[in-house]
């Protein structure tokens, strides 16, 4: 595709359920990023992949959050035992260069609501 796509666009989960959010980056982009954006705030860094290697996961809020990119393209962010404070928009971005020092291209986001 021409840009970064994310699915689903909207997800409603009951507290305690597990969810999986998918990101399809721009083909050939080596860097992939996940962010969490709460209402009225800027994106908060979660994790960074260079190809299939997860180089930085310092932003993951707890061990309930897990991300993978097994073949260096599609990535999945998994949240186990969701809590109400996990409600946010989850953004994925990709970049053609390592480190993301070049432009990051953002997807439309997945809006997660935990009831």
């Amino acid at each position: 595709g021409a840009g970064v796509s994310q699915s689903p666009r909207y997800k409603v989960a009951k507290r305690g359920q597990d969810v999986a959010l998918r990101c399809d980056p721009i083909s050939g982009h080596v860097s992939l990023f996940w962010y969490q954006q709460a209402l009225g705030q800027g994106p908060e860094f979660l994790t960074y992949f260079q190809n299939e290697a997860q180089l930085d996961k310092s932003g993951l809020p707890s061990d309930r959050f897990f991300a993978e990119r097994p073949e260096g393209s599609v990535s999945t962010l998994k949240i186990q035992r969701t809590q109400q404070e996990d409600s946010a928009v989850y953004l994925c971005a990709s970049s053609s260069e390592a480190g993301g020092h070049n432009e990051q291209f953002f997807g439309p986001g997945t809006r997660l609501t935990v009831l």
């Binding site: 705030q41 800027g42 908060e44 390592a98 480190g99 993301g100 020092h101 990051q104």
Partner: protein, 111 residues
Amino acid sequence: AQSVTQPDIHITVSEGASLELRCNYSYGATPYLFWYVQSPGQGLQLLLKYFSGDTLVQGIKGFEAEFKRSQSSFNLRKPSVHWSDAAEYFCAVINAGKSTFGDGTTLTVKP
């Protein structure tokens, strides 16, 4: 640790007036700085970036920004605002894959 501050939560300007959005950063070395725009229902779009060299950088849609190391600032400017510029604007710094965004400034444009 790197940080970004956008002091103005909300700014209102009249169409055709000039605009300046403030951004202050905290980072130990020469930073990689970005401005992004987020319109309702749209994804984040890059306006411009600064890595090194000329401290005045030009971006898309008529925006520019000036890097001032002495003030740790990277303010965004536009000489004449259009109604379509109404959106949320984010300043960001990145180092080794880790980005830090400010909390954004919401721009309202009056007719």
